[in-house]
């Protein structure tokens, strides 16, 4: 039997001819990303030596600019670390700021055929770039940063064969909600995305899908490499890389075909996105207090464009706070240049600086007791975005924007041509 994309990349990085589901492998890590939480006193192990500083990237993102003294202290520790080891790829608070997974995509720090780790669960995001990437824990991210290697249990692979085209008002987020609702968790499994619909899915759309793999508890979520990805990468990096393609006779646990034409906007009910998706019509009319568009899943320029298309010429309900958080300074600048930010603000959105912000409930949009939010971000666990009694529904940026206008959960197709 042949190998899937993830198996091929793991085989290469472990110096083996082949790997198969069930193997435990030690692999070379090509890129390790550290972020502000790693430098908090309760997580920071005071690193003294690093074998390959050129493979380390440091990005401050979860709480930036610092909302508390503790966060500021972590930033200070990070800057000292960067200085001490001469880390060149440093995204400090300020000009190069952004959510780590968005920055990894913006700068093409993840390359096809390589392995990337970061101790944030949504690291699978980089799988959009034909990379094997996953969130690891604090101890193993420091192990990888110091020694340039880590261990993985090789899982079996489920392949999603995407066909057709998304209809207006239906997005990659809805593809995810469809998968999460129908198939639930993919624990111990890799997810591979391919098929004829890929050509019509932008890198941003792929990134949304790969990022949300964390919610499916998969090991890796990896996309096939095609011309669209190659063009994207060549416009951002001159680094060499070797894309990995699945073998024609790859050994999949299952191949699932998704016909994009049949999908409708979906919403996940509060507290979980696994097995919790409903057609939008079932929850339409639910009153909301806050609407959020942002995060490593939905803070791309494309997401902002989509929100602006829904909002332009209309006003956000006076009873709703619509918070829009671009994923990175690069996205923010492009959205400023092309007029998108102005459209959002004119419609009543509050546009924040790039950061994780409300997504992680850390700052800039924390929910109060009994409040209801609809979010285009990654996660809707109980209490994640604020008080444990708050409720968080999840939908696409279009659905969130439409809901912000209506003051209740609403169908974006009402507002889109």
């Amino acid at each position: 039997m042949g190998m899937t994309i993830a198996e091929k990349i793991l085989a290469r990085a472990s110096g083996r001819e082949r790997v198969a589901a069930g193997d435990l492998v030690t692999v070379q890590v090509h890129t390790t990303v550290l972020f502000d939480n790693n430098f908090m006193p309760n997580n920071w192990p005071d690193v003294r030596r690093i074998d390959h500083p050129d493979r380390v990237v440091v990005i401050l993102d979860h709480r930036v600019p610092a909302p508390t003294i503790q966060a500021a202290g972590a930033h200070v520790t990070a800057r000292k670390f960067v200085e001490r080891f001469g880390i060149e790829r440093f995204h400090d608070v300020g000009q190069r700021q952004g959510i780590c997974h968005q920055v990894v995509a913006d700068e093409a720090y993840a390359l096809p055929g390589t392995i990337l780790v970061c101790s944030d669960s949504h690291t699978c995001s980089a799988g959009a770039l034909n990379c094997v990437a996953r969130g690891v824990g604090g101890p193993d991210v420091f192990f990888a940063a110091c020694k340039g290697e880590t261990w993985f249990r090789v899982g079996s692979t489920v392949r999603y064969e995407l066909r057709g085209h998304l209809r207006p008002g239906v997005t990659a987020k809805d593809i995810f909600l469809h998968i999460a609702g129908l198939y639930g968790a993919h624990a111990t499994q890799n997810i591979e995305f391919g098929g004829p619909a890929l050509a019509g899915l932008s890198i941003s759309a792929r990134k949304t899908l790969a990022t949300m793999g964390a919610e499916l508890s998969c090991e890796f979520a990896t996309f096939e490499c095609d011309d669209l990805l190659l063009d994207y990468l060549r416009s951002r990096t001159s680094a060499a890389f070797e894309p990995q393609h699945p073998d024609a006779d790859a050994d999949y646990a299952e191949v699932r075909v998704i016909d994009l034409d049949t999908l409708e906007p979906l919403v996940a009910l509060p507290d979980s996105v696994v097995n919790n998706s409903r057609p939008l019509s079932e929850v339409a009319g639910t009153t909301i207090d806050q609407a959020f568009i942002g995060s490593c899943a939905n803070g791309t320029l494309e997401d902002l464009h989509l929100a602006a298309r829904v909002l332009t010429g209309r006003q956000v309900s006076p009873k709703v706070r619509l918070i829009v958080t671009p994923g990175s300074q690069r996205v923010y600048l492009e959205a400023a240049r092309d007029g998108t930010l102005a459209q959002l603000v004119e419609s009543g959105a509050l546009v924040t600086n790039p950061t994780c912000g409300a997504c992680g409930g850390g700052h800039m949009g924390v929910l109060g007791p009994e409040e209801t939010c609809i979010t285009a971000s990654t996660r809707n666990f109980k209490g994640r975005m604020g008080d444990p009694s708050s409720r968080v529904f999840m939908g696409s940026p279009a659905t969130v924007a439409a809901s912000a206008l209506a003051g209740v959960i609403a169908d974006p197709r009402r507002y889109l041509p």
């Binding site: 111990t188 979980s272 109980k382």
Partner: protein, 168 residues
């Protein structure tokens, strides 16, 4: 690694925000343990006695990479046996030295309070009240060695990569 103690039960899809909520973010690792399950089972962390065993449902530990496994370990729990364990959470269990085993059928085989005997060498769990014995998925010897060494931080410390243990 063998443990014998009273069990507590947690359901399916227990996520890391329930184990280590944002509210505890800035606290010391020991202080963070008071917040374990504070949203879904307030007061529970006070009832746990050192050495108790946690029985989990499906996809235990889904969610973020935060050091939630460290909180369970620091709370005094001896080990976790669950129907299935989220891959990232399992990594944190190994790397923070909190023994964890996947064992299909374990949730139905235990009523909270039953005494369990767990062996990681044999990958078994026995319910002392009912006599039921289940075979779990064995942890590879390489990973058991990491747990036995106290996790990854002590290894990095011995090799001079880090100064102190953030795993406290």
């Amino acid at each position: 690694m063998r443990f014998s103690a009273r069990t507590w039960k947690a359901g399916d899809n227990i996520n890391t925000d329930l184990i280590l909520p944002n509210r505890a973010f800035y606290l010391t690792p020991q202080e963070q343990t008071q917040f374990v399950f504070s949203a879904n089972r307030p007061g529970w962390s006070d009832l746990v006695v050192k050495g108790d065993i946690l029985i989990g449902g499906h996809n235990f530990g889904m969610g973020s990479s935060r050091p939630a496994a460290r909180s369970l370990r620091n709370l005094g729990l001896a080990c976790l046996v669950a129907e299935s364990i989220n891959g990232l959470f399992f990594r944190n269990c190994v790397n923070f030295a909190f023994p964890a085993m996947e064992c299909p059928g374990v949730a139905a085989a235990f009523v909270e309070g039953d005494v369990a005997e767990v062996s990681f060498e044999d990958a078994t769990i026995v319910n002392r009240r009912t006599g039921v014995r289940l075979l779990g998925k064995s942890m590879p010897a390489e990973l058991r060695a990491v747990v036995a060494a106290g996790g990854l931080f002590p290894l990095l410390e011995q090799q001079g990569y880090i100064a102190s243990r953030a795993s406290a």
